[in-house]
C-alpha cells in the first residue's frame, strides 16, 4: 500500500466532532426514524431493514443477486489519503459481510473547497480508489457537492448467489462466534487525535483500519457459515445483539477473549472514550447482562464504535475453531469470542473470567 504523499497537515479532523462510524446516528434514534418507513413488500428484495442487515440484497435470477450498500463519514485521520482508504474499506466491508463480491463502486463526496486545497480532495479520492481496485471492483464515477465538512465514502454493488447470502439471522444454538479483527478503533482514533499513541500502537491502529475484509471472507466461505455481520458503529455488543435478535437466540460474549488494539485498554481507562461508546451503552444496556465483574474500560471497549471493523461469523464448534486457525495462519488476528445459546432472544451475556 502506498502512503499519502501529502505531508502538509491540514488537520482534517480538527473540527470534526464524531469520528468514523462514531458519527452514525445512534441505534435508538435510528430505529425511531425507520419505524416510520414502510414500503410495499417486494419479492425480489431478499433482505430488508427489519433485521438491521449490512446491505440490501436484490434477487435478479435464481442464480444471481445484487448486493447494494452505501457508507460515508467525516475524516477519521488527518492524512487525506488514509482517510479515503479507510472510508472505502469500511464501505466495502458491508458487501463482504453479506458473503458477496464487490464489482462496482461510486464515490460519495462532500468537500468544502474554500477551506482546503484541491490536492487534499484528490488524495482522499485516490485513497478510496486504491481500496476499490485492491478489492477487484471498478470505480464507476460518483457524486460530489460542497459541504461544511468533508464527507467521503462509497456506494457499492456486489454479486452473490441468492442461496449463499450471509445474514444476521441464521445462527444456531451451540454455534461459536469468530471475530476477525481486534476492537478499539473508536478509542484508538480519539487517542490518535490527542497525539497520545506511540509509533507501534499507532501503526497497529492504521493497519487495522486499512485492511480489507476480502481475504478473510475468501478463507471463511468454504466453511459452513450460519450467520455473519461486520462490526461497525454499534460496537461489538450492538452488532452481537442484532445477530442474536435476528437469530432468536441468546449470545454469550467471553469478554477477556476479545482481542484489543494495543494501548486501547489503558486509554479507555483514562477516559479516552468516544461519545458513540456511551450512546451504544445506552442503546443496548437493556439487552446486556454482565456476569462477574467486567472492568469499566473493557466494557467501554465492547461498546466502542468500530470503523472498518472485522467480520463476525457464527459456525458450529469444530468449524469455528478450524476457521479461526486458518485465519490466524493467514496473518489475520481472528479469535473465538462467544457462543450462541437458547435463552432470551437478543440478550448479550458478557462473561468475564472469575477472579
Amino acid at each position: 500500500m502506498s502512503t499519502g504523499k501529502n505531508d502538509k497537515s491540514h488537520k482534517l479532523t480538527a473540527k470534526i466532532k464524531a469520528a468514523g462510524c462514531a458519527a452514525k446516528i445512534s441505534a435508538g434514534e435510528l430505529s425511531q426514524i425507520v419505524r416510520a418507513l414502510s414500503s410495499p413488500p417486494c419479492p425480489q428484495l431478499l433482505t430488508g431493514i427489519d433485521n438491521f442487515e449490512d446491505a440490501a440484497v436484490y434477487k435478479l435470477t435464481d442464480e444471481l443477486a445484487i448486493v447494494e450498500t452505501v457508507d460515508f463519514f467525516p475524516p477519521v485521520v488527518d492524512d487525506p489519503f488514509l482517510y479515503g482508504r479507510i472510508a472505502a474499506v469500511n464501505a466495502l466491508s458491508d458487501i463482504y459481510a453479506m458473503g458477496a463480491r464487490p464489482i462496482l463502486a461510486l464515490n460519495v463526496f462532500s468537500f468544502p473547497t474554500c477551506d482546503y486545497p484541491i490536492d487534499v480532495a484528490q488524495e482522499i479520492l485516490r485513497g478510496g480508489a486504491e481500496a476499490v481496485s485492491e478489492a477487484g471492483a471498478t470505480l464507476g464515477g460518483g457524486h460530489s457537492i460542497q459541504g461544511p465538512e468533508p464527507l467521503y465514502g462509497l456506494a457499492v454493488t456486489g454479486l452473490v448467489h441468492p442461496a449463499r447470502i450471509l445474514t444476521n439471522s441464521g445462527a444456531r444454538a451451540g454455534d461459536l462466534l469468530v471475530l476477525s479483527k481486534p476492537i478499539g478503533t473508536g478509542v484508538g482514533l480519539l487517542a490518535l487525535k490527542a497525539e497520545l499513541l506511540p509509533d507501534a500502537p499507532r501503526q497497529a491502529l492504521l493497519d487495522n483500519l486499512t485492511v480489507l475484509n476480502n481475504r478473510c471472507l475468501q478463507i471463511a466461505l468454504p466453511h459452513a457459515i450460519h450467520a455473519a455481520t461486520d462490526v461497525t458503529g454499534f460496537g461489538l455488543i450492538g452488532h452481537l445483539h442484532e445477530m442474536a435478535e435476528a437469530s432468536r437466540l441468546q449470545v454469550s460474549l467471553f469478554a477477556e477473549r476479545v482481542p484489543l488494539l494495543p494501548d486501547t485498554y489503558q486509554l479507555a481507562e483514562q477516559g479516552f472514550v468516544p461519545a458513540g461508546a456511551y450512546a451504544n451503552r445506552k442503546a443496548y444496556e437493556s439487552s446486556v447482562c454482565f456476569i462477574n465483574e467486567v472492568e469499566t474500560a473493557l466494557a467501554d471497549l465492547l461498546f466502542d464504535p468500530q470503523t472498518a471493523g472485522g467480520l463476525l461469523f457464527a459456525l458450529a464448534p469444530p468449524e469455528a475453531t478450524e476457521l479461526a486457525g486458518e485465519l490466524r495462519q493467514a496473518g489475520i488476528q481472528a479469535s473465538v469470542v462467544g457462543e450462541f445459546t437458547p435463552g432470551q432472544p437478543g440478550l448479550v451475556e458478557v462473561i468475564a473470567d472469575d477472579k
Binding site: 470534526i16 480519539l190 490527542a194 483514562q270 477516559g271 451503552r281 437493556s286 469499566t296
Partner: protein, 209 residues
C-alpha cells in the same frame, strides 16, 4: 495547588486530554473543570479513577462542574455511588465495594401471617431499608414476588428509588409471563434464572424476608 479550567466548547478528546495534562503534574492536588456534557463528565470520571482521585460532579444550568481531588481519597466511596449514573454496567455494579447484599423476594409478602398485613410489611421493609441507607447490589423478584412489579403495586416507588441509587431491580421473566405481567414491566428490568442464579451465588449475603 488547585487548577481551575473552563473546557466548555472544546471538542472531544480536548477536555479529557487537557485535564490529563494537569493531573500529570503531581503538584496539582485538585482540578475544578467546567465541561459541556455528560460524555465529558464520564470521561473525566474515568480519568480521575486512574489517578486514584475522587470525583464530584455538580450540575449547573447547561454545563457541569467536575471536581477531581487527589487529597480527599478514601472518604468518598459513598459519594461516588450516589453520583454514579444508574447505568447497568459492570463498572457501576462493581462501584459498591465491601460486602455485597442481594435481596431476594420470592413472594409478595413479608412472612406468612395475615395476607394484607404481610403485603404492607414488604413495603415497610423496603422503605425502612432505603431510609436507613442500605445499598443492596440487587433486588431480585421471582415466583409471586414479581407481583410487586405490577403497575398498581404500592412498592413500585420504593423499588424505583433503589434503582436510582444504583441497585439492580430485576424480575424473573418466566414468572412475569405466568402472572400475565410481562408486558407491564420495563424490558430492562426483566431477567432470567441464569442471571438470578449468578447474583445469588456472587452475593456475600442474601436477604429473603
Amino acid at each position: 495547588m488547585i487548577s481551575k479550567v473552563d473546557l466548555r466548547g472544546l471538542i472531544c478528546p480536548e477536555p479529557v486530554l487537557r485535564t490529563k495534562k494537569l493531573l500529570d503534574d503531581p503538584g496539582v492536588e485538585r482540578v475544578e473543570a467546567l465541561v459541556d456534557d455528560d460524555v465529558c463528565v464520564n470521561n473525566l470520571r474515568r480519568l480521575s479513577n486512574t489517578f486514584k482521585a475522587t470525583t464530584d460532579v455538580h450540575q449547573h444550568d447547561g454545563f457541569f462542574e467536575v471536581v477531581i481531588d487527589r487529597a480527599a481519597r478514601g472518604s468518598s466511596t459513598a459519594s461516588e455511588l450516589t453520583t454514579a449514573p444508574s447505568v447497568r454496567s459492570a463498572g457501576d455494579v462493581a462501584a459498591g465495594a465491601g460486602t455485597t447484599t442481594v435481596v431476594f423476594l420470592a413472594k409478595d409478602t413479608f412472612g406468612d401471617g395475615d395476607p394484607e398485613l404481610s403485603r404492607t410489611l414488604v413495603n415497610l421493609f423496603l422503605q425502612t431499608a432505603l431510609e436507613a441507607g442500605h445499598q443492596p447490589r440487587a433486588i431480585l423478584m421471582a415466583n409471586a414476588g414479581v407481583k410487586l412489579m405490577a403497575p398498581d403495586s404500592p412498592v413500585l416507588k420504593v423499588l424505583e428509588d433503589f434503582r436510582q441509587h444504583g441497585c439492580e431491580v430485576l424480575a424473573c421473566g418466566l414468572c412475569l409471563e405466568f402472572y400475565g405481567l410481562k408486558e407491564k414491566v420495563p424490558k430492562e428490568q426483566i431477567t432470567n434464572m441464569f442471571a438470578i442464579c449468578e447474583y445469588l451465588f456472587a452475593a456475600d449475603k442474601v436477604l429473603q424476608p
